[in-house]
């Protein structure tokens, strides 16, 4: 069964580059430009096996998106990885408190990204 990943970022190059890495590895990738677009898709019935989100985005940032996901029926235990340029511990702690499953600092190599995703996805079976 093909695993589904929702990739959320306001950067076109991230959606294309990271999206291509994940798609090439065999995942079915959907993208959203910010938290609002992501929640629109999720409330529309799309149920990913994993969400990968940036933090700093217009309209709805990544940490707010995580909190919304954790409140949504059917999505409360969906793993969420944060993919961001932020590197400080305080923000990391805030993400953990919001319900994030993991934290990845950009730029991340394709190999490390896929290894991390591979660690997380079996948890969502």
């Amino acid at each position: 069964m093909t695993r589904k990943i929702l990739l959320v970022d306001d950067s076109t190059t991230i959606l294309m580059g990271v999206g291509d890495i994940l798609a090439r590895a065999g995942y079915a990738v959907e993208t959203a430009g910010d938290g609002v677009q992501a929640m629109t898709k999720l409330r529309g019935g799309y149920k990913p096996d994993l969400i990968v989100t940036d933090v700093n985005m217009p309209q709805m940032d990544g940490l707010t998106l995580i909190k919304e996901v954790r409140k949504a029926p059917g999505l409360r235990f969906t793993p969420v990885l944060v993919l961001t340029t932020e590197s400080q511990q305080a923000k990391r702690d805030e993400a953990r408190a919001s319900g994030a499953t993991g934290w990845i600092v950009k730029p991340v190599s394709a190999q490390d990204l896929l290894k991390t995703v591979g660690h997380v996805l079996p948890l969502a079976a």
Partner: protein, 350 residues
């Protein structure tokens, strides 16, 4: 722009405002104009930076599209190599089957000389039987001549016997006729025996031996050529199989590099965010300069209070500290391990 503003403020403080009302207005107007122009210059530079940031995004998208096409081409190359290897294996299997058939033919040709010798021996035996018939036929021919003579003598005696010998004369005539017919049959048989002898001599004579030996030698040379061709084909198959494996390995390495290249494009997002933070800070500093210009152009001009830029710069520094530095990004983009300057691990599962 910030250093200009700082220098201007310090100069104003050292120089102090004009002491005479007549000098005050043009002085303030001049400084205000300078501050306004500086703010406008900063805004123009920020606009350029924004365009550059957008340009890098466009370039990164173009690079990613090319990388996608490159990846697609590499994928087709892998498929092509796979099909080529399959075809090569298929051809090798067909050649192996053909080689087995040729081996059977070779064994058959190897048995041919012995077989031909046996057949020739049989034909020689048959020829001997035919020669034996020839001798028997000669005796039959002799019997026929004697019977013919006897029939002539019988006809003579029948004539001497006159009327009483007439019946005997008829019998003698019939015997003579039988003798003549027998003679025809004997000649026919003799002619056919001669033809058989000639045919056997022609088919199994010494000249035929030479021809058979030549044909067998030709067939064996052909088999040797086919055998060499089979070896050459096997060598070629192994060569191409090795080449295909090596090319496939390089293609996999290429595929891995393509994937990492896709990841390296993340630098553009880091640059974009840095430019955005810088432009926001620059806009705040420009607003400070415009406010200072407005103060100087007020009916009662005053100098701007000191230190307005400090919280703006502090916020900028804090923002930069919270994000990956250029050095860290360049290091990670090159695929090296995180530097010691990293505050926390780059990847963490909670």
């Amino acid at each position: 722009m910030l250093s200009w503003l700082q220098r201007m403020v310090r100069w104003c403080r050292r120089a102090g405002p004009p002491t005479t009302p007549a000098a005050q207005a043009p002085w303030c107007a001049g400084v205000a104009e300078f501050l306004h122009d500086s703010a406008e210059a900063g805004r123009a530079i920020d606009q350029e930076l924004g365009e550059i940031s957008a340009f890098t995004e466009g370039s990164a998208v173009a690079i990613l599209e090319r990388v996608r096409r490159l990846d697609s081409t590499a994928g087709k190359l892998v498929e092509y190599l796979g099909r080529t290897e399959e075809q090569g294996d298929h051809m090798q299997a067909e050649l192996q089957a053909s080689t087995e058939v040729i081996a059977e033919i070779s064994a058959f040709i190897g048995r041919l000389p012995q077989q031909m010798r046996e057949e020739r021996a049989q034909m020689q035996g048959l020829l001997q039987h035919v020669l034996g018939l020839d001798q028997a036929l000669a005796r039959v021919n002799g019997f026929g001549r004697q019977i013919h003579l006897l029939s002539i003598n019988a006809a003579i005696e029948a004539a001497r016997a006159g009327e009483r010998g007439r019946g005997f004369a008829v019998i003698a005539a019939e015997v003579r006729k039988l003798s003549e017919e027998s003679d025809v049959v004997v000649r026919t048989i003799a002619r056919e025996i001669a033809e058989v002898r000639e045919a056997v001599a022609k088919g199994f004579g010494d000249r035929r031996d030479e021809q058979d030996a030549q044909h067998v030698a030709d067939a064996q040379r052909l088999l040797q050529s086919v055998d060499r061709l089979s070896h050459v084909n096997e060598d070629m198959r192994q060569f191409y199989s090795t080449e295909i494996r090596i090319v496939s390995q390089y293609n996999q390495m290429l595929s891995g590099e393509i994937v990492e290249l896709m990841g390296s494009i993340q630098y553009q997002d880091i640059v974009r965010q840095k430019v955005e933070r810088y432009c926001a800070t620059s806009a705040a500093l420009q607003e400070i300069a415009r406010n200072a210009a407005r103060q100087l152009l007020a009916p009662e001009p005053t100098l701007p209070p000191p230190g307005q830029h400090q919280p703006v710069l502090a916020a900028y520094a804090l923002g930069e500290a919270q994000h990956v530095t250029a050095e860290q990004a360049a290091h990670q983009t090159r695929g090296a391990a995180p530097t010691a300057a990293s505050a926390a691990p780059a990847i963490e599962l909670f």
